[in-house]
């Protein structure tokens, strides 16, 4: 749910309202930075640069998207810029982002979905998930983060990333199938033959 922040107060330079905005969105923006860049120092840079940008440009905000979507757009741009700086050879619009969803054909068919929560949310389970997300190409990862981690709609994700809804849907499906495949390969090894065979 979007917190109740007054745009008028922000534009008028109300510092308390800006502090409320910062507190409301620090966690998701820090998480975005952490997932995109993979280390706390870069995540902190994304966080600081995002809000410095907001502070600088809030008076130019035209309300074509929601304030939340605008914030995520700034944060995503900051993260992608930092990635380009760190890895200049990276082509973010590269071939891995395109192609059809169908080329991520599942090859793992073991049903681990009913494994107990304590196993799926254990330290090792969490690390496996983190690693799998980190392996996603950046252009798919940012879509997955906005849509599935932070809960933006397809339309909002498209607005934040300047992508069509069709493009968001294709990237999201590819990201989801990629992660599912990685987790399936991991949990397959941890299930007993009985658990695997009965599913």
């Amino acid at each position: 749910m979007q917190p109740d922040i007054s745009l008028e107060a922000l534009i008028a330079g109300d510092r308390l309202e800006f502090a409320r905005l910062v507190d409301a969105y620090s966690n998701p923006i820090y998480r975005l930075g952490l997932r995109m860049l993979g280390n706390p120092q870069d995540a902190e840079d994304v966080l600081q640069n995002t809000f410095l940008n907001v502070l600088m440009h809030i008076s130019e905000f035209e309300g074509r998207s929601s304030l939340q979507t605008w914030l995520y757009r700034i944060a995503a741009n900051e993260a992608l810029m930092l990635i380009r700086k760190r890895k200049p050879e990276m082509d973010l619009e590269g071939v891995e982002a395109e192609g059809s969803a169908e080329d991520v054909i599942p090859s793992q068919f073991v049903d681990w979905s009913a494994l107990p929560e304590e196993e799926l949310l254990s330290g090792e389970g969490k690390r496996t998930l983190d690693r799998a997300i980190a392996q996603l190409p950046e252009s798919l990862r940012i879509v997955f983060i906005l849509r599935d981690v932070e809960g933006l709609s397809i339309k909002e994700t498209g607005e934040a990333l300047n992508l069509t809804e069709t493009n968001v849907k294709t990237r999201l499906l590819r990201a989801r199938l990629f992660l599912r495949e990685q987790l399936s390969a991991y949990y397959r090894e941890r299930m007993t033959p009985q658990e695997r065979g009965t599913k």
Partner: protein, 88 residues
């Protein structure tokens, strides 16, 4: 491992995300559910994809801003006066 390339399975795969997100028409949902009844592999792909999304959204997997990072952020933004302990 057998490749999962049956035509109906491919159709399901391309609609999987929208099916999970509830964005398909009732007619398409019905068609998918009919296919799922007879296709174990697709049921597994559906269950495990849903579970993958669900795991990502668990609070245990959601990092929060450390307090020292929050403090530096408030200072950088000249918001020191409003730096009350976070309620999170």
């Amino acid at each position: 491992m057998t490749a999962h390339t049956h035509a109906n399975c491919e159709n399901l795969l391309s609609s999987l995300s929208e099916y999970i997100d509830g964005g398909l028409s009732p007619e398409l949902c019905q068609e998918i559910e009919k296919h799922l009844t007879g296709c174990e592999n697709c049921r597994v792909v559906l269950n495990t994809t849903k579970r993958t999304i669900d795991l990502v959204q668990q609070p245990e997997n959601q990092a929060a801003v450390p307090e020292d990072v929050r403090e530096r952020l408030f200072k950088r933004l000249n918001l020191d006066d409003y730096l009350k302990p976070s309620s999170r």
